[in-house]
Symmetry: C3
Subunit: 139 residues, 3 copies
């Protein structure tokens, strides 16, 4: 296990814009406050969603699409640098009108309402290619 | 996107009381420490639960009831003012004895065991009616 | 409800080791930084998993096993002392290649990739037997 001490220098709460993209909104927040790295949790609802599942054999992501309103029951993620841009690595648990649940890596989703808590770290985190998983990881 | 810098002035861990209501317990904690606003994550188990799903067409919540013991696999939420009372906006992911999962906006649930981390912000957050979603939102 | 003010003295981000055990990795981190108590959220993916469901009638845990790759869509937990060892009480929401979701108390899981944020508290938390739930709880 690799770990690093970090220091939270700033914290923000944000309300994501109805009709915007969930992940892009978090990246916009990170850009606006010039975060070198950060960690967030969030909740809310979306109008549609595209989750990604990572196939550990082929080492490729496969999309799973939902074209219906869903609650965002839980959302956990972090902000770091990927190819010189801030990337919000975002996982989410979504639920429908019967409480049925769908989850995974959140690529995109149209915000209905979203509430986010972001802590910004003094340290910078940068993703680099990891040979064993073929993922871009930090540390 | 609307955002605001916040400062965490106090942090608490709490053990929710067996037999009490999950959300009311978090609101009691917020009242006890006189939180103007806050953010929490939690885990545990409940004896029953009422989730709410927000219908984005009719703009009304519909309840989904569970009368069985469930784990609280993840719980994310925040505390803010709503109609002059502290309101714990609480989303949760619940699971049963086969690992099947149910999630949404948690209205009420009878605590079996609950562990909460609450950060209290110096700033106050107040919910007000939002015309586009017909929800009470802050910022 | 029982609660206690805590103070975060240190924070860490960690990348869990591919092939190691998810919960043991978090406990190794807690050992390495000599945490008396802490709180974490995490996300990632695992190669298999064993969830536990607590039967509130018999007061025993029953295992639910998954022998397939799964995303860790959300993970919330805390570190405290249990029988003189650091124990990472870990709940997780897992998801498969169709977005289907499984959740509960995470006993063990083989890490594919894992990203954790751990806050370390100055105060110590210790679990003790609770008669009404037959669980080991703190506070």
């Amino acid at each position: 296990m690799n770990y690093r001490a970090v220091e939270t220098t700033e914290e923000y709460v944000a309300r994501l814009e109805t009709g915007a993209d969930w992940r892009a909104e978090i990246e916009s927040l990170a850009d606006a406050v010039e975060a070198e790295a950060g960690w967030f949790t969030a909740l809310g609802a979306v109008q549609d969603a595209e989750l990604w599942f990572y196939d550990q054999d082929t080492c490729e992501y496969a999309p799973i699409e939902f074209d219906e309103p869903l609650e965002v029951a839980a959302c956990v993620g972090n902000v770091s640098w990927l190819d010189d841009e801030r990337f919000a690595h975002t996982h989410a648990v979504l639920s429908d009108d019967e409480g049925r649940t769908y989850a995974g890596h959140l690529n995109e989703a149209t915000v209905w309402a979203g509430e986010v808590h972001l802590r910004v770290f003094e340290e910078s985190l940068e993703r680099e290619y990891d040979e064993s998983t073929e993922l871009d990881l930090w540390l």
